[in-house]
């Protein structure tokens, strides 16, 4: 978006650079309504587009990342917008499929699209990503077929995709575990010499995803220790969506988590997680540094979980509608579209085409999910070990014999 008067224009709309204001009609700002949250109005928060899609002026906070945004093309903007819309649609489909009984569970990313797409698009092919369980948007950007994700939440497998195909690890459910895997993988990249060579086809980095709650785990903090000490090419991407199931931020920390990194000796950056340009720019900058051998960064993407924790959760038990309302106005898609319309990055046909594509994808993945066969029972014993294992083999035999017996008998009682 190499458009030199972007900043100026934003300025004319009266927005203070770096501040994060919901529209005035919303009444009091979140901190005065909602307890337990942090970082709203934090001048350290990197933003490029305000809630209405206005490009903000360059300021002290976003300046280090401004060039990345300047270098983005209209095409880039359209790619990101398309991602945002498709990802939201895929997510909505997951939700719907769960409600229809096709999936056992669905953890929605609704509200976090910009955080994930910004991060996901900043990754290059030969980088590697370690997700939690809500990173459907990152999965999408890595090229993982959403139907694969459904397999896991349908109970057909524990993650059907080959992580090495898209350099996107399996989802990790035990909070914090994957942060260490990411650091180890990054240590491996460094040991392979694939850092700081200056060859963009070679230098690689790792990105590890967790949530605000995840920052409390020992593994998360040990990952910061190992990353710091080994100067590993890893970026910790914390989506602070304000909630860990029913627990607000103030049950996990008393200062925003981006500051945690500073206690370990490397930079922490706060970014408006609903601003796709900002998340992209901040993530790209951190990844570039990691690839160049400048070590780890922790990014806190300040965002919001618009839906329930998962389809099993009932957020009315612990949070107010008013809070959700506030965040509706910070919606990343609305924001991106406003920005693109204003800047002329796309015409109405484009937006219509994206919506149509979303319909198509939704239909395709719904059908694919509904038609997903149950796995063959004896495959339960497959892939347990890389080499033959007598106990597993014996049990497979036992299982087959037992079922064969049934088939003969026609079942008991």
């Amino acid at each position: 978006m190499s458009d030199s008067d972007v900043a100026g224009q934003a300025g004319t709309r009266g927005h203070v650079a770096g501040a994060f204001e919901p529209s005035p009609e919303l009444g009091p700002k979140p901190p005065s309504q909602v307890t337990g949250h942090f970082s709203d109005d934090n001048p350290e928060m990197v933003q490029f587009v305000d809630a209405d899609g206005n490009r903000l002026q360059t300021n002290e906070t976003n300046a280090p990342f401004a060039q990345i945004v300047e270098d983005m093309t209209s095409e880039d903007a359209r790619i990101i917008y398309r991602d945002l819309v498709l990802v939201r649609r895929i997510d909505a489909e997951g939700f719907a499929l769960q409600r229809q009984g096709e999936l056992g569970l669905w953890p929605s990313l609704f509200g976090q699209e910009a955080a994930q797409v910004g991060a996901g698009r900043a990754l290059r092919d030969h980088d590697y990503a370690f997700p939690g369980y809500r990173e459907h948007g990152v999965a999408w950007c890595r090229g993982v077929d959403p139907v694969s994700l459904f397999g896991m939440f349908r109970g057909v497998n524990h993650g059907g995709w080959d992580s090495n195909e898209n350099n996107f690890h399996l989802y990790t459910i035990v909070i914090g575990n994957q942060m260490l895997h990411a650091v180890g993988y990054a240590m491996g990249i460094a040991a392979d010499g694939d850092v700081g060579t200056g060859d963009p086809e070679r230098d690689a980095a790792v990105m590890a995803f967790t949530g605000d709650g995840g920052t409390s785990q020992g593994d998360f903090n040990e990952a910061l220790v190992f990353a710091a000490v080994t100067n590993a090419p890893v970026v910790f991407f914390v989506q602070n969506n304000q909630w860990a199931i029913s627990e607000p931020n103030d049950k996990q920390f008393i200062i925003p988590p981006y500051q945690r990194a500073r206690g370990f000796g490397f930079p922490g950056v706060l970014v408006d997680g609903n601003d796709p340009l900002a998340t992209y720019a901040v993530a790209k900058d951190a990844l570039d540094k990691a690839r160049n051998g400048q070590g780890p960064t922790l990014i806190e993407a300040y965002t919001y979980r618009m839906g329930a924790h998962t389809t099993s959760d009932d957020p009315t038990k612990y949070r107010s509608d008013a809070e959700v309302e506030i965040w509706k106005h910070k919606d990343p898609i609305k924001r991106m579209r406003g920005f693109m319309e204003e800047r002329g990055h796309a015409d109405p046909d484009f937006f219509a085409a994206v919506d149509a594509e979303a319909d198509e994808i939704a239909a395709r993945i719904r059908t694919a999910c509904q038609g997903m066969p149950d796995p063959e029972l004896p495959t339960m014993f497959d892939h347990q070990y890389t080499e033959p294992h007598p106990v597993v083999e014996a049990e497979r035999e036992e299982f087959l014999a037992y079922h064969a017996g049934f088939a003969e008998e026609g079942g008991r009682a």
Binding site: V174, S216, I245, M380
Partner: protein, 329 residues
């Protein structure tokens, strides 16, 4: 609530409430146990009634939860910790094995850590990975702990209170797939438990073989026994209730009577609790056994994706198949 027939979940909730009423030192801790009442609603309403100082929503860190609970116990509190799901207890394993289990002995009895670690356990609910594990063997193997498992609402109500009253640390397993099953019997809150916390219960008397089970498998075994009855077989069913220590007198008396034993649990069998029971029974009932002690359990693979779980977990049919094999001797 006196005389009510509760679900297992509500039985626990009522038991916790009673314990908190009785002893102001009882505090509940865990992830989401406060406003939400826990993801299974076992602590529902308790924060509202007892306050945030007695029902603590903790940071998301299991070692931290158990570790700070140890500190609270040393200060004179009686923490009841909720682990959100079985698969998330491992980050706290070090604190449990190295500290909780050993504190009393290593202090020559000077220190007590009267705490209960509640673990919703087992499968059968169509959940994703790490949400269906049965990890009682790890704790039963750990000297210094007591490990119990409830199988029904009335036991849940009484056992949680007994566990909280115990000065030893107790790992308390709750069969999550039975949470919403209503108890057979009415709970008389003014009454008293009919068994000690470490006593097994003969839930069905029989003569032909003994089914030894606990937690979620008690129901399965009772169903198996009912089905067997139709085939003219008379099975005794024992709900172990206490997994460490085991109520060996009750177990061996039954096996000496029937001459046959089948142990049923959801956990993988290899070095599972069933192995201990089999080892004990063959030792103590050697001349009474008419068939080897058999085990029915989860297969020895990590808990599979949920589409497999009906076949992974012991079913009525697999139990009866084992009974057949036992009787074939």
């Amino acid at each position: 609530m006196s005389g009510a027939r509760l679900t297992l979940a509500k039985g626990l909730n009522a038991g916790l409430r009673k314990a908190m009423d009785k002893d102001p030192k009882v505090v509940l801790m865990g992830e989401d146990v406060g406003k939400l009442g826990g993801v299974f609603r076992i602590t529902e309403g308790l924060q509202k009634d007892f306050g945030e100082h007695r029902v603590l929503d903790t940071p998301l860190a299991e070692s931290g939860i158990v570790g700070t609970a140890v500190g609270l116990a040393l200060r004179g509190y009686r923490p009841v910790v909720e682990i959100q799901f079985d698969g998330f207890v491992y980050p706290a394993f070090d604190q449990i094995v190295s500290q909780v289990a050993k504190m009393h002995a290593r202090s020559l009895g000077h220190l007590k850590v009267p705490m209960v670690i509640r673990i919703p356990c087992g499968g059968g609910i169509g959940a994703v990975e790490h949400h269906s594990e049965s990890n009682e063997a790890y704790f039963a193997h750990t000297a210094g702990l007591r490990v119990v498992s409830c199988s029904n609402a009335a036991d849940a109500y009484w056992m949680i209170q007994q566990a909280i009253e115990t000065d030893d640390p107790v790992i308390f397993f709750e069969p999550k797939r039975r949470y919403h099953e209503r108890g057979e019997t009415e709970i008389d809150e003014g009454g008293a438990p009919d068994l000690g916390l470490y006593d097994a219960r003969v839930v069905r008397e029989g003569t032909d073989a003994t089914l030894l089970c606990y937690g979620p498998m008690v129901k399965t075994c009772l169903q198996a026994a009912a089905a067997a009855e139709e085939e003219g077989r008379n099975l005794e069913v024992i709900d172990l209730r206490s997994l460490s220590p085991l109520d060996l007198p009750t177990i061996t008396a039954s096996v000496k009577k029937t001459g046959r034993a089948v142990i049923v649990h959801e956990a993988q069998t290899f070095v599972g609790l069933g192995a201990e029971i089999a080892a004990r029974v063959q030792e103590e009932c050697f001349y009474h056994l008419e068939a080897p002690v058999l085990r029915v359990g989860g297969y020895n693979i990590p808990y599979p994706p949920s589409r497999f779980e009906e076949e992974f977990l012991p079913t009525l049919d697999r139990v009866l198949d084992a009974v057949d094999r036992s009787l074939a001797h």
